[in-house]
């Protein structure tokens, strides 16, 4: 297997020209799937026999929560890549991805709370999953705050990579400890870990919205990376040429 593509990832110029045609189709495809999934799920899928219509929020909550975790995994991996191979694209990716992940975690929290009100009777329950998403949100905010307060670019890159890697190592432990906390607490918590078997009309729209949201986020992150590349490389000749030829 050739590793050439991997080394090419170190060059922002290569990445920029390679990725130029990607974001728009990916983004549009994502939007398309998302619209289908959401419309299907919210309007046409049959209501749950236990939870009625309130279950429909899973078409937002589940994809968003999945994204929030996947984003952190991606951050940690790219942080590792940066620390080991000094790949220039990795910090750009982290910078582009962190706010998206934070927003996903926030939406997951809010939609979870909205779901919790009719289902559990309260907006908030110290349920293991909710708590770990809350911690995930804090981790994202930490990375963003750190990047914003460090003026020096080299230091900001290293710092974000270090904290992402440490976060990735810690995340399973945090998750495990939170689950442990919940199972040992004798509080009045409901756990909805066992999902009922879903009919196809229910999970197909879910699949659509999950795929749609992944593509949607991929498109947005690619765009953010491209603009970050332009900002960081604004002194280099290829950026000047690019702007002269194609405009902004």
């Amino acid at each position: 297997m050739s590793w050439a593509w991997f080394h090419k990832l170190g060059s922002p110029k290569w990445f920029f020209s390679w990725s130029k045609s990607w974001p728009l189709p990916v983004f549009c495809f994502g939007c398309f799937c998302l619209v289908i999934g959401l419309a299907w799920g919210l309007a046409f899928a049959p209501a749950d026999y236990q939870q009625g219509n309130s279950f429909r929020i899973i078409y937002i909550h589940v994809p968003v929560a999945m994204l929030a975790q996947s984003c952190y995994l991606a951050l940690g991996v790219s942080g590792f890549v940066f620390l080991v191979w000094q790949m220039k694209m990795a910090p750009i990716f982290i910078k582009a991805m962190a706010p998206i992940g934070a927003i996903m975690a926030l939406i997951a929290l809010v939609s979870g709370a909205i779901w919790g009100k009719p289902t559990w009777g309260t907006w908030w329950v110290w349920d293991a999953r909710l708590t770990s998403v809350l911690v995930l949100f804090f981790l994202y905010m930490g990375i963003i705050a750190l990047q914003n307060s460090l003026e020096d670019q080299v230091l900001a890159n290293k710092a974000a990579a270090v904290i992402s890697v440490v976060g990735l190592i810690n995340l399973p432990i945090i998750k495990y400890s939170v689950v442990l906390l919940e199972t040992l607490h004798q509080g009045p918590t409901f756990t909805l870990t066992k999902k009922p078997e879903m009919p196809a009309e229910m999970w197909l729209p879910l699949l659509f919205s999950v795929i749609g949201l992944y593509c949607f986020v991929a498109g947005v992150v690619l765009w953010r990376m491209q603009s970050e590349i332009l900002i960081r490389e604004h002194r280099s000749s290829w950026v000047k040429q690019e702007v002269m030829e194609h405009g902004l």
């Binding site: 750190l146 307060s149 080299v154 270090v162 400890s177």
Partner: protein
């Protein structure tokens, strides 16, 4: 510079700055005192909550102490000298953390009998509280020192370190308080202590290298 001369100088500086350690301990006592005063001072509330109160206060006090660990060295250039000393930077950091741990945690342990009386912590829980503090706090230091090194170049970095590092402290707090509660209830707790020990050992292995990367990036 050698490892032993570095350690000696670290202890000397800690001794000259004993007021700082003293402040951290006072801060710890005040935070502990806030709970009986602010929530409920009856033994019914305090006895089961004592472990959590002590641990939350300890986490805050330790993070305050760790946060400023590199500040002075960064200002006077001795951090830079560590980088160019030709010695292993991760090992120097490890020694520094050990010195700091001894200076902060040992006095903390000495105060524990007094505090556990004030919080009506039962005898059965006290022994486990000491054990969790002994084997759990190293991981607090090792994780916190990464944040301290990352933010050393920022003037007002204390709040940022809190935001950055406190989420990582959650598992340590959870394992410790669960162990103490289990002991109070007469349940087995050795598994939880083993988890704490594992966390401390893991952070001992990983943190010096991460901190060294952060220090090198910060001093340039």
């Amino acid at each position: 510079m050698t490892y032993s001369s570095f350690l000696v100088s670290e202890f000397l500086v800690l001794w000259r700055r004993k007021q700082d350690v003293f402040n951290a301990l006072l801060f710890f006592i005040i935070v502990v005192a806030l709970f009986p005063i602010g929530i409920n001072s009856s033994p019914d509330f305090l006895a089961p909550a004592a472990a959590g109160i002590v641990w939350c206060a300890a986490v805050l006090a330790i993070l305050m102490a760790v946060e400023s660990m590199f500040k002075e060295d960064y200002r006077d250039g001795s951090l830079e000298q560590l980088v160019v000393s030709g010695l292993s930077l991760p090992l120097l950091i490890l020694l520094k953390v050990v010195a700091q741990w001894l200076a902060v945690v040992l006095p903390l342990l000495v105060m524990m009998p007094l505090l556990s009386e004030m919080l009506y912590l039962p005898r059965s829980g006290f022994r486990v509280l000491i054990m969790t503090l002994l084997i759990g706090t190293p991981s607090l230091f090792f994780i916190g020192v990464i944040g301290a090194a990352l933010t050393v170049s920022i003037k007002q970095g204390a709040m940022l370190v809190m935001l950055l590092i406190l989420p990582f402290y959650l598992p340590v707090i959870i394992f410790s308080t669960l162990a103490i509660k289990a002991a109070q209830a007469g349940l087995p707790y050795s598994g939880l202590l083993a988890m704490l020990l594992a966390m401390s050992l893991m952070s001992l292995v990983i943190s010096p290298f991460m901190t060294a990367i952060a220090v090198k990036a910060s001093v340039n």
